[in-house]
Symmetry: C2
Subunit: 350 residues, 2 copies
Amino acid sequence: MEPLCWQSSGLELVDQRQLPHRVTRLRPATVAELVEAIAGLAVRGAPAIGLAGAYGVALAALEAGPPEMPGYAPRVRALAGRLARARPTAVNLGWAVGRVLAELAPLPGAAWPAAALAAARRLHEEDRSACRRIAAQGAELIRDGGRYLTHCNAGPLATSGVGTALGILIEAARQGKRIEVLACETRPLLQGARLTTFELLEAGIPCRLIADGAAAWAMARLGLDGVVIGADRIAMNGDTANKIGSYGLALAAHWHGVPVTVAAPCSTLDAGCPDGAGIPVEERSPDELTGHGGTRWAPHGVGGWNPAFDVVPAEWITNIVTDAGLCRAPFSGLREWAGQTTQDPGVPQG
Amino acid sequence: MEPLCWQSSGLELVDQRQLPHRVTRLRPATVAELVEAIAGLAVRGAPAIGLAGAYGVALAALEAGPPEMPGYAPRVRALAGRLARARPTAVNLGWAVGRVLAELAPLPGAAWPAAALAAARRLHEEDRSACRRIAAQGAELIRDGGRYLTHCNAGPLATSGVGTALGILIEAARQGKRIEVLACETRPLLQGARLTTFELLEAGIPCRLIADGAAAWAMARLGLDGVVIGADRIAMNGDTANKIGSYGLALAAHWHGVPVTVAAPCSTLDAGCPDGAGIPVEERSPDELTGHGGTRWAPHGVGGWNPAFDVVPAEWITNIVTDAGLCRAPFSGLREWAGQTTQDPGVPQG
């Protein structure tokens, strides 16, 4: 299932809040609707929201009015800015919006709607290709007969291809490695319970759902061969922002000698962040903690603290797998790869 | 709110699965119904299930038929054995059932129903008194202006008094210390989100609900003055079984230099367990992970791993507070206190 695509009728997103039980598609007609879909997590996963932002610039180029009207370019840029700010932590969003805008800059306004769409489609294809490269390189780290743990969802629904972290596991299984995957349910929004298990079942990979609080105990009691997670932003020293829970998970893995592999396309590397201290961490409404899917279980009147991400220090990370290659501590290769796009020779480039 | 009491009509339990939104009371009329209520978590919390077991022996003494019938005593003991085995991890259950049976042993059968009830009521009063002593001693560890984190529920609903871990925080606040409490929601059964927040709101203590996965990040980002948790079984070296998630929480606290305080009555100390390796850890149905309260979010067909508890190594524990006193590493005082009952001079003993 592709999280998003551009049809003749415009952008179409799978509303991931409804998965796995209902497959509902949204067709945001305006930038405001798309910003709402991104901020409300109808589409999520750093690579996927980057693509949503890229297609959003195509929406913006249509919405800003006839290109010959005065002020067209500033209107497009203002709308694109709203897209880029829809969520703060995943660097892919601002990066993808910026990439499309940069392609438009030298062109006359009349060319912008078609050029924005073409640029978004190119990024989309690049992301598919990046996922294939990540999966192929990362699968080499996976041991036949091993047990791996993943957190949140970094599978096909979070990207446009086979996924990043989950792509590695899916590719290893496709190569015939018999693995078991433990999926942390990933409160509050349960992307692990709803999406990762769904994708693992689809791929025919044995998996078990666990409570987030059971992850460290799984390392002690069951034993793990690795933790494999995605990323929302990777600083130049390797510090990695990812879904809340990743910090504690990586600490526990470090303590138990379990390797931690982070998988992400180069668009997730932020050359502007020397280390994790500069990564903005989104805090979301405490309402996400008081229940789920229309069921409320917390008493009324209770507050909450709901950071959507945390930042894993580089010293707890064993491998960073990108489409450009595999990097190990001290992660000095990251700067060269930041924001780079890799070409998959097997795929015609648009 | 008392989790259980014996009325003229028999045993009455608050069904904690329905809290905080509905206060429903169960009246188990047979040992089988009570075993179901304990195993199904209508009543939970190590001290409270101990008391449920104790009152259960009174139920057994009625259910086993007229005391003059042949085989009465073995029937009572068999029913009591079913109670003691209703859940494996909390040592209080077997301890309390055993305490009541030991009081019956020298008496004629005709005296058992009344004697069992009197013994259960005495344990009930002892538990209230133990909670008061734990709260008073533990409150000395709490800093005015401090921020504390607790996991699961070790408050009034888990005991018969002010609670153990939560009792300490409630007592500190009663003494005028201005504290904030972070409550881990405690998947899968959400005792933190449903019960601890409810009790903290009742007590007027500022609290914020957090996802279990956010606890380690809270230590890094917000800073914590302590983690305060209850216990289901404490081995003689200080290793402590508590709700799943406690292991990772204590590891993170150890890493961040945050003191971990475990609070429990002496009935939670197991003289038969030299260390945590001997503590049986209950594994519950994976169905608890696939949704909550009638809402299912995981795809059908997914399996799970659902240990209800984990075991925190003593080396990550700073303080163990019991009704008999405060113990610090290497916890050599525990053996003397195991299974002991303390007398609160302010309370008449029945």
